[in-house]
Subunit: 308 residues, 2 copies
C-alpha cells in the first residue's frame, strides 16, 4: 500500500570519539525513505531542500520508488543543517549547530499523486507542521505514525498533544515517554500515553532495544549487540522507516504484524549505525538484511522447560 | 546436583524515593540461596553471621533444603550491615553505611558434607576469600560461577583476575564489563573477558535485561517491564541464584540450557524487585513463577516472514 513520508531532507555534520563525517546527507525523511524503500515500492516524500542539495541523492531516492513531487527545492536558499557531537558512550550527544534555512518557513504541500495513501509517517518536525499534513489529506489513512522529540515537549507541548491525538502510533525514546507522561515507570508511562490518542506506542531504547505497547499487550525487541557503533545518527528514523515500510508492504496493522515490523525496524537501524550518514542504507543488500534478521531471531531464541 | 553457595548473609537498610525498608535481612547468599531453592533440592551455604542475626531466617533456609553447616555464627559479634539510598531512576545508588563486623576476618570453611558439589556459586566477596573456597575443594566442580563488582576491580584487581581465571562463568554488569576489559563495546568487552578464564560471560543490564556470551554465541534475555520497582537490592544475586539453581537442578551446562537459566534467573529477579528485602522470594509460589516465565516467553515471541 502507498506511503507518505514527511520530514527533513538535509545536511548533517557528525563528530564522534572515533571520527568525523564532514558534511553528509541526513535528515529524518532521508533515513525513513531509504529504510522504507527496502520494503515498500510506492512512497511519496514531502520535504524541502535548498539549491545546495545534491540532485544525485534525490535521484537515488527516485530509483528506489520514492516519488519526489512533494520535495520542494527552494532556489537561492540553503538546506537545513545540523551539526552534533557524540559523547564516549554514543548514547548522548550535544548539538553544535542548527541552521534552519529552508526549514524556517516550511509549509508542506501534499501533492495530488500522494492523496489516498493508506500509510503516513510524520517524521520529527514542528507539531503544527505535522498537523498541517493531516489537515490536507482527502481520505483518512489506515495508519498514521508520528515521531517526535523532547525539544517539542519543551517548547510546543499543547500543539504536540493535539497532533498526537490524531495518530495511531507514536514513536519516542524512553526519556521522552517519561517526560510526556510524567511517569517514571515505562509501563505506567505507556498506559498513560495510550489514553492520549495513539492505540500503539513504540518506546525506542537505543542500544537497549525497543518496546511495543498496545492496551493489552507488550513486546520487546532487543537491539543487536554491535562490535562498533560508528554513528547512531538517523538510527531512530531508520527504525521508523523499516517499521512503517513493512506495515505498508503487508497492509497488516495487527499487533502480531507490528511485532515483526519492530524487529525489521531494529534490523535496519543496526545497519544505519555502521557508517556515517546514509551510506550503509544505500549499499545494503537483501541477503545482508535476511542474515541480520536471522541474528535477531537467534538472539532471543530459547525454549523453556517448566519445573518438573 | 549439589550446589555450594558462598556469600554474605547480612542486614540491609534501604531507602528509595518511594519508601524505606528499615533493617531487613539481606546479603548475596541470602538472595542466591532463596532463589536457587526454587529449583534445586540440595545446597550448602557458606557464610558468617553475628549473634544478632535471626535464627528464624536460618531455619527458613533450612526448610528449603539449604544446609547451614557452613554458616558460622560468631558469638559476641555483629552481622555485616549495609545501608544504601536509591536515586529516582532506581538504577544508581549511594552507599550510606558499610559495617563489615563479622565479615572483616571471614575465613570460609567448606564443611565435609559439602565436598563433591558439582556446582559452586561464589557470590560477591573479596576475591581472595572467593579463591580460598576453591582451594578447599577436594574435587573439581562441573561449574563454578563467580559474581563480583567494580569495588574489587578498583582495590584488588590482580587477586580478582587470578580467581576469574579459575571459574567457568562470570556475572557482572555492563559498566563492570567495560571496566574489566577496557573496551566500551559490550561485544568487544565480552570477547576480551572470555580470554581471561571464563568460557561463559553474563552481562547484567538491570532493567535492560541480560546478555549471555560464549566464544561463538550470544543470547539476550529482556527484563520484564515492571509497573513498580520497589527495591532492586538483591536482584543481581537473585538472578545468579536462579541461574545456577536451574543449572544444578538439570545438571546440563550447555549453552542451550544456560539460555533457559538466564530467563529463569531474570524471572526470579523480577520478583525480588517487588518488595523490600527477601520477602517476595519467601512467599513466591510455583504458579506465580510459571505465569511469570510465560510472560517472558510472550514478551519476545515473534515470527518473522522474510520479504516475498
Amino acid at each position: 500500500m502507498s506511503l507518505i513520508i514527511v520530514g527533513t531532507v538535509a545536511f548533517d555534520a557528525i563528530q564522534t570519539p572515533f571520527g568525523s563525517s564532514g558534511k553528509v546527507v541526513g535528515g529524518a525523511a532521508s533515513y525513513i525513505g531509504l529504510s522504507a524503500s527496502q520494503f515498500v515500492k510506492e512512497q511519496h516524500i514531502i520535504s524541502v531542500i535548498g539549491d545546495d542539495f545534491p540532485q544525485s541523492f534525490v535521484e537515488e531516492l527516485e530509483s528506489r520508488g520514492v516519488q519526489t513531487k512533494g520535495l520542494e527545492r527552494k532556489a537561492g536558499e540553503k538546506s537545513f543543517f545540523w551539526e552534533g557531537k557524540y559523547h564516549m558512550d554514543m548514547n548522548s550527544r550535544d548539538t553544535l549547530t542548527t541552521e534552519l534555512n529552508v526549514l524556517a518557513d516550511f509549509k508542506p504541500v501534499v501533492p495530488q499523486e500522494a492523496q489516498g495513501a493508506a500509510f503516513v509517517m510524520l517524521g520529527n518536525l514542528d507539531p503544527t507542521v505535522q498537523a498541517s499534513v493531516l489537515d490536507q489529506l482527502d481520505q483518512k489513512p489506515k495508519l498514521v505514525v508520528l515521531d517526535t522529540m523532547n525539544f517539542w515537549m519543551d517548547i510546543a507541548l499543547e500543539p504536540l498533544k493535539k497532533v498526537i491525538e490524531r495518530v495511531n502510533v507514536l514513536t519516542i525514546n524512553d526519556e521522552e515517554a517519561r517526560q510526556l507522561s510524567g511517569e517514571h515507570s515505562l509501563v505506567k508511562a505507556a498506559n498513560k500515553i495510550l489514553t492520549m490518542g495513539p492505540s500503539t506506542l513504540v518506546i525506542k531504547k537505543g542500544e537497549h532495544g525497543a518496546l511495543l505497547f498496545n492496551e493489552d499487550e507488550v513486546f520487546f525487541a532487543p537491539a543487536l549487540p554491535l562490535e562498533e557503533v560508528l554513528d547512531p545518527t538517523g538510527a531512530g528514523d531508520t527504525f521508523a522507516g523499516g517499521f512503517i515500510g513493512y506495515l505498508a508492504h503487508t497492509g497488516d496493522t495487527s499487533f502480531t504484524n507490528m511485532k515483526r515490523a519492530v524487529v525489521l525496524g531494529s534490523a535496519m537501524a543496526s545497519f544505519a549505525c555502521e557508517k556515517f550518514g546514509t551510506d550503509r542504507l544505500m549499499d545494503l543488500t537483501q541477503e545482508e538484511l535476511d542474515a541480520r534478521i536471522q541474528r535477531f531471531v537467534d538472539l532471543v531464541d530459547f525454549d523453556i522447560l517448566l519445573k518438573d
